[in-house]
């Protein structure tokens, strides 16, 4: 069979160990597939979505109830976005727990982290685009956090919100960030990230001389595996979309943090839980930034695994990095669960 364009995106052969599910979990590839789904469904939503405060929620109701397959389209976009965050987090955990971030892949680890941060921002801006009663608490409280940053807080708030309080300028700015300001760097970073994976010898394995497994697979086999992953991911996505509709709420009547749903989007619930403990700058801004800095520093300050330890889970010599990430992950999960307990 003559290799197609899609086959040519892959190397002619790769070590079989690089494409084992139990090693990679397929998380990075699944994230790229979800990103494609998000781009396509998002582009289709743009044909109907109107980014003005009085029309935004109405146009989403139009998509949901009157556009043929509009509800399915919106649900797919919603679920692909949520799965993207989960799959990206799994990818990050896999990379740290297998020590794959050591040089020469250290810089690509940073690119991946940047992508992760951008994807969270994309998810949050997309959530705000609903502009209905379900989002106003998170919008008002979330953007007020920016004001607490010393020196630059007020100017940064003005720049992001486009005024002294959320309004039509805010919505158009979030819209621009969502489909352009964040999407463009994300697309570029995905390309760069993938390029560097290939340039640095594919997925992390010990150097060829230290490998025990010399089996290789062809690009045909690799593409088959990718298609298989896409088929199952796509099916799961569709099932989620059919049975669990994306959240929707009545249009905003008056912008106030007290009306509507008093809950952050799920990926910020851990921050919402910490905000209950006191100073909003410390808990709401500083702690998340410190966590991000720790993640950035993982390849730099912690003991690194030896090259011979690559290609498998939990290399002993990078135990400290694994424990650090595990503590962060467990803390975030516990805080999220605490925030889900209904307020009595």
């Amino acid at each position: 069979m003559r290799p197609s364009f899609f086959h040519h995106l892959h190397p002619p052969t790769i070590p079989a160990a690089q494409s084992r599910w139990r090693y990679t979990l397929g998380a990075g590839g699944t994230a790229i597939f979800l990103a494609l789904i998000l781009t396509i469904t998002g582009a289709l939503e743009m044909f109907y979505y109107i980014p003005t405060p009085d029309q935004a929620a109405i146009s989403i109701q139009t998509i949901t109830y009157f556009v043929p397959f509009g509800a399915l389209l919106r649900n797919l976009h919603f679920w692909a976005a949520q799965l993207f965050i989960i799959v990206s987090a799994v990818h990050l955990v896999r990379v740290v727990f297998t020590g794959a971030y050591i040089p020469p892949r250290r810089f690509n680890y940073l690119l991946g982290l940047a992508l992760f941060v951008i994807s969270i921002l994309l998810n949050f801006t997309g959530y705000i685009l609903r502009w209905d009663q379900g989002i106003q608490w998170a919008l008002v409280v979330g953007t007020n956090l920016i004001k607490t940053i010393p020196f630059i807080g007020d100017s940064l708030y003005q720049a992001l919100i486009g005024g002294t309080q959320p309004g039509s300028a805010t919505l158009i700015r979030f819209y621009a960030w969502h489909i352009f300001g964040l999407m463009l760097p994300a697309a570029f970073l995905v390309g760069w990230h993938a390029f560097r994976v290939r340039r640095e010898g594919g997925i992390a394995l010990p150097p060829p001389t230290l490998r025990t497994d010399s089996e290789r697979i062809t690009r045909n086999e690799l593409v088959r595996r990718e298609i298989l992953a896409m088929l199952f991911t796509g099916s799961a996505l569709l099932v989620l979309s059919i049975f669990t509709p994306a959240p929707i709420a009545p249009p905003i009547i008056e912008m106030s943090p007290l009306s509507g749903e008093v809950r952050a989007p799920w990926f910020f619930l851990w921050v919402q839980q910490m905000l209950k403990w006191g100073d909003p700058f410390f808990w709401g801004v500083l702690i998340p930034v410190i966590i991000l800095i720790i993640l950035i520093l993982i390849p730099y300050i912690f003991p690194r695994p030896a090259e011979s330890e690559l290609g498998r889970w939990f290399p002993k010599s990078s135990g400290l990095a694994q424990v650090t990430l595990a503590i962060i992950a467990v803390a975030i999960i516990v805080l999220t669960l605490l925030a889900l307990i209904p307020i009595k």
């Binding site: 109701q61 086999e221 099916s235």
Partner: protein, 403 residues
């Protein structure tokens, strides 16, 4: 092995896509309505096409659903569609009535145009319960006189004709006397915006619909006595125990079901419906705050029958804008026309369902029953009534029937 997995995966995706297709096409076909008042499409009829039109005066094509009920006009999901609805299923609840039924062209316009329904209801004794509250507070020593100081809600009336400019909100919890507190707990189920007692006999809605909604999703001015009975004839409040005592009998006939507290009454009283005699100012209020029911209720036997010296008051309808014609239009039972002569009350309110006949007798058409009643004035009969005894109780001395 991969070939087989690919086949399974493709088959799975195909099945899921077909299922998604089927789910998407199973949704009900949206039914659109663009009422002329709002000009904005709404899709409530997708599910609610079986509801009857609320009334002839509120045509569906003009009003639609959302201008009264609120809600999300585009949503085809029940939860979202019903969020933001005014007063739940009843937009005429007094807490939201101004938004649903108000507006200068609707029911909170000027008094001169007879569009001040909401102001009148808000200040009427049926809403304020001022007389009952004042009586109880006086009886148990919380106030020195029977004047009205409190209502169910705080209200003001700047242009008062009764001398009462405002009522404060009655708060039973702040009262020191336990009987008044108990009154607050047990006896506030009758004012027009209170949730009714639970049994079916007391079933009614709140606000305008308390009286005007006799069937589901129907508003009418042809209000049968049974509607009034939901509050006015179901039992009594026992002032010693401060509890409500349900009536024990099971009235089977109209005469048995007639207003219990009145021991003596005549035939016309139980054959007619309450609204055939009692006017809208008596029932809905006249826009002023009144101290109690006696201050606003004034129609007596003589309103229609006159006295031995005097015929009842009448008026001839001279133009098409006469209020009597407008009221008859809402409940066309008497085919009233310009030139007809009708009875009017002592305060000049038209008894639009009556007519003066050429032979000097009168005719009344039941607003709810459509029955025709012919009756005579007292003047020229053998009636022995004294000129200063015009209360109905004096008429009942001779003209009572046995229950």
């Amino acid at each position: 092995m991969y070939r087989r997995l690919l086949f399974i995966g493709s088959a799975l995706l195909l099945v899921v896509i077909l299922f998604a297709w089927q789910q998407s096409s199973r949704a009900p076909k949206p039914i659109s309505l663009t009422p002329t008042l709002s000009g904005q499409p709404e899709y409530c009829l997708t599910c609610h096409a079986d509801l009857p039109e609320i009334s002839k005066s509120h045509p569906l094509q003009t009003f639609g659903c959302v201008s009264c009920h609120g809600g999300e006009r585009l949503a085809l999901n029940a939860d979202l569609a019903h969020s933001n609805m005014r007063g739940g299923a009843n937009p005429s609840d007094l807490s939201v009535v101004e938004m649903s039924c108000g507006g200068t062209s609707c029911h909170s316009g000027s008094e001169a145009e007879n569009r001040d329904h909401i102001q009148r209801v808000m200040t009427s004794v049926q809403s304020t319960y001022a007389g009952a509250i004042a009586n109880i507070r006086f009886t148990f020593g919380a106030q020195p006189d029977l004047n009205a100081y409190f209502g169910i809600n705080a209200i003001k009336d700047e242009q008062t004709h009764t001398g009462i400019t405002a009522l404060s909100a009655f708060e039973p919890a702040t009262e020191t006397n336990s009987m008044i507190q108990k009154f607050g707990e047990n006896c506030l189920t009758c004012h027009i915006n209170a949730a009714p007692r639970e049994e079916e006999a007391y079933a009614r809605q709140t606000g305008c619909a308390a009286c005007h909604a006799t069937e589901q999703h129907k508003l009418t001015t042809a209000i049968p006595y049974t509607q009034c009975n939901a509050c006015h004839n179901r039992g009594n409040y026992d002032l010693r125990s401060m509890t409500f005592v349900e009536r024990a009998d099971q009235p089977a006939t109209r005469i048995q079901d007639y207003y219990q507290p009145i021991a003596q009454f005549t035939r016309c009283e139980y054959t007619l419906d309450c609204v055939d005699c009692h006017t809208r100012n008596e029932v809905m209020g006249d826009g002023d705050i009144h101290a109690n029911q006696k201050d606003i209720q004034y129609v007596q036997c003589q309103t229609c029958h006159g006295t031995i010296n005097q015929l009842p008051q009448t008026k001839t309808i001279t133009g098409p804008n006469d209020i009597a014609l407008k009221m008859e239009f809402l409940n066309p039972v008497s085919n009233l026309k310009v030139g007809d002569t009708i009875l009017v009350t002592e305060k000049g309110e038209p008894l639009w369902n009556t007519r003066v006949l050429p032979n000097g007798t009168y005719e009344l058409i039941g607003k709810a029953t459509n029955l025709r009643f012919n009756f005579r004035p007292v003047m020229g009969t053998a009636c022995e009534q004294k000129p200063d005894q015009q209360g109905s109780q004096y008429c009942h001395t001779c003209h009572a029937v046995e229950r």
